[in-house]
């Protein structure tokens, strides 16, 4: 990143501009701002709802006394989907209720992949992610090629190219 900054500063100096003028939006800021908009257009199927009767929930606590006598930090939740036998475990957070939510979401995703295959939310999102990554990589390559090629030339044309790419992104 700092190499890129340096190169950009040099280019701008060549162009007679102040090096730290905010001309080009930083490339890594892009995914953060654009992702929700893009995913909203994806036409995702509705989330799969899981009925409580379909699953068996287990809090993995081990044996022995509970209550005041010991102080467990385990908040793990394990869900078993009875019809398919899929088991999902979550111990992400310290809150058991939070873990229950996350486990249900994970199980929902797994079931959707099983039922809808390529048309499930996860698959659609994954495809979109890969597509975006590929196109971003392509742009990146083009940009660096441009920078490499333009090192010896005068800065004006190069600056414009960087600028336009940044805006396009």
């Amino acid at each position: 990143m700092s190499g890129l900054h340096h190169a950009r500063a040099q280019l701008l100096r060549l162009a007679g501009l102040r090096p730290y003028a905010p001309v080009v939006p930083r490339p890594h800021a892009r995914p953060l701002t654009c992702t929700p908009v893009r995913l909203a257009n994806l036409n995702l199927p509705p989330r799969r709802t899981i009925l409580d009767s379909e699953i068996e929930e287990n809090f993995l606590k081990g044996s022995g006394p509970g209550g005041q006598k010991i102080n467990k930090t385990s908040s793990a939740v394990q869900l078993k989907h009875l019809p398919t036998g899929i088991v999902v475990k979550c111990q992400e957070t310290r809150s058991r209720s939070q873990n229950r939510k996350i486990a249900r979401r994970l199980l929902g995703e797994r079931l959707e992949v099983l039922e809808l295959g390529d048309e499930s939310r996860v698959m659609i999102k994954g495809r979109e992610e890969r597509r975006r990554k590929a196109s971003a990589d392509k742009k990146k390559r083009r940009k660096y090629r441009g920078l490499e090629g333009g090192k010896g030339d005068e800065g004006e044309g190069e600056k414009q190219e960087v600028d336009s790419e940044g805006k396009e992104a």
Partner: protein
């Protein structure tokens, strides 16, 4: 306690240099990894808000504290009680997940009730961090917005009341003005008999209710009192609990002529008497195991005032596939260890969905007496 195998220590070191010391309190690799992750997240958070430079030192310090047995909740400063984040401090018992399961279940049952009083009053004795009123409020008000809730937390420990006040303020501030419930806290001694000679420093419950002009009648009584007998304290509690959590919250004070078991059960007789005095319709008392549950249920039965008594396991909402499902005539529901005793009478059975509606007509009469002008005041933190 079995020694941790060297192979496990080596395996842990390979994953992270800070993992081996955490194996001592956690005993298994998965738990140690989780705790290290939470400690790291905490350090990141502390560093980002305070601009702490030496993150590694801080983390190492925390790991060292944890390795000495200090509960993770005291290091991180909070524990989740159901979905509610409760602040914890040394000197006050850390809320347990099992308690949360019982309280959540009873709050859900009450939340489904057809007819409730115009204001639901819940009394929580031995409140500690104030976790029970806060969770009850959270669960109940998420289903019922029409019935305002009034909770009173009582504890003998000054530290506990102070911390509970802090927790109530913190949680209610997050909810802003949307909350219709009041949570109050008073310091009082539950065990002391109001008619016996009064102690000078801490008033009895009845005296405290009078002093702060709080209502004398409460619809529900919930309590997680100290219930560990002295011998069980030395034999069954983990060293982390013994060394770092307050004994006063675990073991009832010794009484004259009591044996070990009686001392462990010391609170329950008093709690049931309080339930009678405040005319509680639903009573939920936490216990250590099925044996104690049966003893408490028998005590409640001997008072001859309840319409039904039930014993709940750790997870009362799960279907019971565990034997026994009945002992001494008391139904045992749920899964896990014996965890609490639920008693109800009059309309309480209706609220819990235990008795059909027509049985409680006589009770409606007594309800009118209760809704006559009452003494109210604000004594909240």
């Amino acid at each position: 306690m079995p020694r941790i195998p060297t192979s496990l220590l080596r395996q842990a070191r390979k994953l992270d240099a800070l993992l081996p010391p955490l194996l001592a309190p956690c005993r298994d690799l998965g738990a140690a990894q989780n705790e290290l992750r939470w400690l790291r997240e905490h350090v990141d958070k502390v560093a980002s808000t305070r601009g702490h430079r030496e993150q590694d030192t801080l983390l190492r310090n925390f790991v060292q504290q944890r390795a000495s047995g200090k509960p993770l909740q005291y290091i991180l400063g909070t524990e989740y009680f159901g979905p509610v984040e409760i602040r914890c401090r040394p000197g006050v018992l850390i809320p347990r997940q099992d308690t949360a399961a019982s309280v959540t279940h009873v709050a859900q049952l009450i939340g489904r009730a057809q007819s409730l009083p115009s204001e639901l009053r819940v009394l929580d004795l031995c409140t500690g961090t104030g976790c029970i009123p806060l969770l009850f409020d959270d669960v109940f008000t998420s289903t019922r917005r029409d019935v305002p809730l009034r909770c009173l937390g009582v504890d003998i420990s000054e530290k506990a009341i102070e911390l509970a006040g802090h927790n109530v303020m913190r949680v209610q501030r997050e909810k802003k003005d949307t909350t219709t419930s009041t949570i109050e806290l008073v310091r009082a001694d539950v065990l002391v008999d109001p008619f016996a000679e009064q102690a000078i420093d801490v008033p009895s419950l009845k005296a405290a209710l009078n002093m702060y002009r709080l209502p004398p009648f409460w619809d529900m009584l919930i309590s997680n009192p100290p219930y560990v007998s002295p011998s069980a304290y030395w034999k069954t509690t983990t060293s982390s609990v013994r060394h770092f959590e307050p004994r006063i919250a675990l073991v009832p004070p010794a009484g004259k002529g009591q044996d070990d078991t009686q001392q462990g059960d010391a609170f329950y007789q008093r709690l049931i008497t309080v339930a009678r005095d405040v005319e509680a319709r639903v009573v939920l008392l936490e216990v250590a195991d099925v044996d104690q549950a049966v003893r408490v249920a028998r005590m409640a039965k001997d008072m001859q005032m309840f319409d039904g008594i039930e014993i709940w396991r750790d997870e009362p909402d799960q279907c019971s596939d565990q034997e026994p499902t009945e002992q001494d005539g008391f139904a045992i529901v749920g899964r896990g260890n014996g965890r609490s005793v639920l008693c109800w009478r009059e309309r309480g059975g209706l609220w819990l969905g235990k008795t059909p509606a027509w049985e409680s007509d006589a009770d409606r009469l007594s309800e009118t007496y209760r809704s006559m002008p009452r003494l109210t005041s604000k004594y909240s933190f």
